[in-house]
């Protein structure tokens, strides 16, 4: 840099000479002047660059991971008690399926840390802090960066690729709560400890194939926390196709299959003598999920307006043995065969009609299908001993409007008519804020 300056000075000094040397023509003078100006500019550019490069403060935390904190709070007004929430016709999942509390409450705060570990791996940790205290590890995984040919391996705890919305964190959902089908089939949201292998095909049409082997630490596997055994407790396979239509529509379709062998998966019910009992299931659970997403924005520019259509269809088959009253609290422990085929789906559309404002509608429907309980068929017990398994088709309709002044905050009003219970409709109103602090969030599809 000093050399450049010296050079500029030298040329500048040279400029003074032509006055004394009449042989120099005007043209040459002009050319020299231009050169000096260019040199000057280059010198000042170089100085600026140097300043910029050196002005970053050398701090100890320069290599800290990207940190973001999600805060959310909610006001709920519900005609039915959320603490007594249940989805009739379906085995309770013991997951966090209940709607938000009545009145004002703080939602789960979420702390996310992510960084490249080295040139082989990337690490992500996402921790949710319950309003009453206690930290839950939502996701904590490493992911390969250095594999080629479209392969990625993920290991640790992560949201399963069963279905579409399951992989998305709750704060990025388009509605306050999960679709009923996710509540009934995945215990609200399924995360498991395991390993995932994914391959993306070398085609311009997006195509992936993947498999997950997991511990089976939560519903539909069981018991809670996973079995005390070597090997795997659950297996998931998935595939997606995706691409663009024209110059404004992107789509993706997925099919996934989750298989697990629950052992002593317990749930609570109240039998015909009005005694609370604990029942348990041991057998096989197989879940298929078909999902589709369509996103439209004029010229793929979602800034002004955009529309998103999303739907998933779940179908589950379970067979094995059902044990009634496992703790012998009522009529005594008995075991019989069990088989069920159940399904559910939802379809939702969200439309941003002007910048910042979106409206959405969601329709949920579940079908408890056919459930065969050996103990009832044999006459040992009656259907009234398994009231929560009684045939029912829960539905829910939801509308929402939200306002997002920027990329980092959102305020949402949501109204719903929830017929998860066969005997009552729950009229729900939620007013919610969700904000994100720190690192910029990912714009995932």
């Amino acid at each position: 840099m000093h050399r450049k300056k010296a050079m500029a000075l030298a040329v500048a000094a040279g400029l003074g000479l032509p006055l004394a040397v009449p042989a120099q023509t005007q043209d040459e003078l002009r050319a020299l002047r231009e050169q000096v100006q260019q040199l000057d500019r280059r010198v000042s550019d170089a100085e600026q660059a140097a300043i910029q490069a050196s002005s970053r403060p050398a701090a100890e935390n320069a290599l800290n991971p990207a940190v973001s904190l999600i805060l959310n709070g909610i006001y709920g007004n519900l005609s039915q008690d959320p603490a007594a929430y249940r989805i009739d016709g379906f085995v309770p999942t013991n997951g966090e399926v209940a709607p938000p509390e009545r009145g004002l409450s703080l939602g789960e705060s979420e702390l996310a840390l992510a960084a490249n570990i080295d040139h082989y791996f990337r690490g992500t940790g996402i921790f949710s802090i319950a309003p009453e205290g206690g930290i839950d590890v939502e996701e904590a995984y490493i992911q390969t960066l250095a594999l080629s040919y479209g392969f990625t391996v993920k290991a640790g705890r992560f949201f399963s690729s069963a279905g579409y919305q399951n992989q998305i964190h709750a704060h990025a959902w388009d509605f306050t709560d999960a679709p009923l089908a996710m509540k009934a089939f995945l215990g609200n949201q399924l995360s498991d400890d395991g390993i995932q292998l994914k391959w993306v095909a070398p085609t311009t049409l997006y195509f992936d194939l993947g498999a997950e082997a997991g511990r089976g630490k939560s519903f539909p596997a069981g018991p809670d926390g996973g079995r005390n055994k070597n090997g795997f407790g659950s297996g998931t396979f998935f595939t997606h196709l995706g691409g663009d239509f024209g110059t404004g529509t992107a789509w993706q379709a997925g099919l996934s299959y989750l298989t697990t062998s629950p052992q002593d998966r317990v749930y609570d019910d109240v039998d015909s003598t009005a005694t609370p009992v604990t029942n348990s299931f041991t057998g096989t659970s197989k879940l298929w999920v078909l999902d589709g997403i369509l996103k439209w924005a004029p010229n793929f520019n979602p800034t002004e307006t955009n529309f998103k259509l999303q739907g998933e269809y779940f179908r589950r088959k379970e067979y094995g043995n059902l044990t009634y009253d496992a703790t012998a609290a009522s009529l005594g422990t008995q075991t019989g065969g069990y088989g069920s085929t159940q399904s559910g789906w939802y379809l939702q559309g969200v439309y941003q009609f002007v910048p910042m404002w979106r409206v959405g509608y969601r329709y949920d429907r579940l079908d408890s299908g056919s459930t065969n309980i050996g103990l009832v068929d044999s006459g040992a017990l009656t259907a009234a001993d398994f009231p929560i398994l009684a045939k029912y088709k829960p539905t829910r309709q939801t509308v929402m409007v939200d306002w997002s002044p920027g990329e980092f905050s959102r305020i949402r009003l949501q109204l719903a008519n929830d017929k998860s219970r066969s005997d009552a409709t729950d009229h729900q109103v939620f007013l919610q804020y969700i904000v994100s602090l720190g690192a910029h969030g990912a714009h995932r599809f």
Binding site: L147, T152, L205, G243, T303
Partner: protein
């Protein structure tokens, strides 16, 4: 086992015998796509993730982009956190080690130029600020030359077999480009000192190059859409000290600019912003030709 090895060997031989594949380049913005095309000619195949009609910040990592980045040899983006919402996600989803951060296949154009608007204070109350500085570096033609030189080196590093082509095309491009800059400097002389209202701070490098004065932006804060109250303030500001022109990009809605123009009688002009932004901005030369002509036209 032996037969597997044999067939693998046969397969690799067969692959080696195939004609050399073009260097596959994934660019985040069309201006870099155009630049790679200038430098690489038929030795490269270029895919641009966005068009001039899109805001390169507000892009989702949609399946078609993952499919394209999966097979890329080189990723060319503006950087400086412009694509922070989607490129990191594409990288982790790609299963492609060639284009990961830190490797030769990862190229951020903004690293090779002096950045403007590096914020002294970094806080989200100031809008969606980019701590690394203004990422829209391509609107200064001198920056294109700097990036071209660095990009040429990178392409040679990745594809040494075609080094000769990249070098001669690079030399030819830079010669034509320097001549064009000299011409544009003359053409843009009347723009010197002209006060301008921008939509978003995406035109600052051009303004700096041409010596114009950026006096206001339609966005109250970077990345925050224009609000009625902010537009009302701008009307007052323009009455006190009027700007000569209001510029916006093809990916911006013209509404706010038109509204301010109707109240202040200051002309608006849509600049192409990047390659493909207007019919005349077919390549990088057309981009600057048309940008300057449109601005001059608005001042008449």
């Amino acid at each position: 086992m032996k037969s597997i090895l044999k067939s693998l060997a046969a397969l690799s031989l067969a692959l080696a015998a195939l004609p050399a594949m073009a260097l596959s380049v994934f660019t985040c913005e069309p201006e870099w796509g155009a630049l790679v095309q200038e430098l690489g000619g038929d030795k490269v195949s270029v895919y641009s993730a966005t068009t001039a009609l899109q805001d390169a910040h507000r892009i989702e990592a949609r399946p078609s982009l993952i499919a394209r980045i999966r097979s890329a040899d080189l990723l060319v983006c503006s950087g400086a956190e412009l694509e922070i919402g989607w490129v990191p996600l594409l990288l982790t989803q790609s299963g492609n080690s060639r284009i990961q951060l830190g490797g030769p296949g990862y190229f951020e154009a903004s690293q090779f130029v002096v950045k403007l608007d590096v914020p002294k204070v970094i806080d989200r109350t100031l809008g969606d600020v980019h701590p690394a500085g203004n990422p829209h570096v391509h609107t200064d033609p001198r920056n294109i030359a700097k990036v071209a030189a660095a990009l040429e080196d990178r392409m040679i590093q990745l594809d040494p077999g075609n080094a000769q082509t990249y070098r001669s095309r690079g030399k030819s491009f830079l010669a034509r480009w320097q001549a064009a800059i000299a011409r544009w400097e003359k053409e843009a002389a009347p723009l010197k000192g002209v006060p301008v209202v921008v939509y978003h701070k995406d035109f600052s490098y051009f303004i700096n190059w041409a010596g114009m004065r950026e006096v206001a932006s339609l966005e109250p804060k970077p990345g925050i859409p224009p609000t009625p109250s902010h537009l009302a303030e701008l009307i007052d500001q323009m009455k006190a000290s009027p700007a000569k022109v209001i510029v916006y990009s093809p990916y911006n809605s013209p509404q706010a600019a038109d509204f301010l123009s109707s109240r202040t009688k200051i002309p608006t002009v849509m600049i192409p912003f990047t390659v493909g932004g207007t019919d005349k901005a077919k390549d990088l030369f057309g981009l600057f030709d048309d940008t300057i002509q449109r601005l001059l036209g608005a001042l008449k």
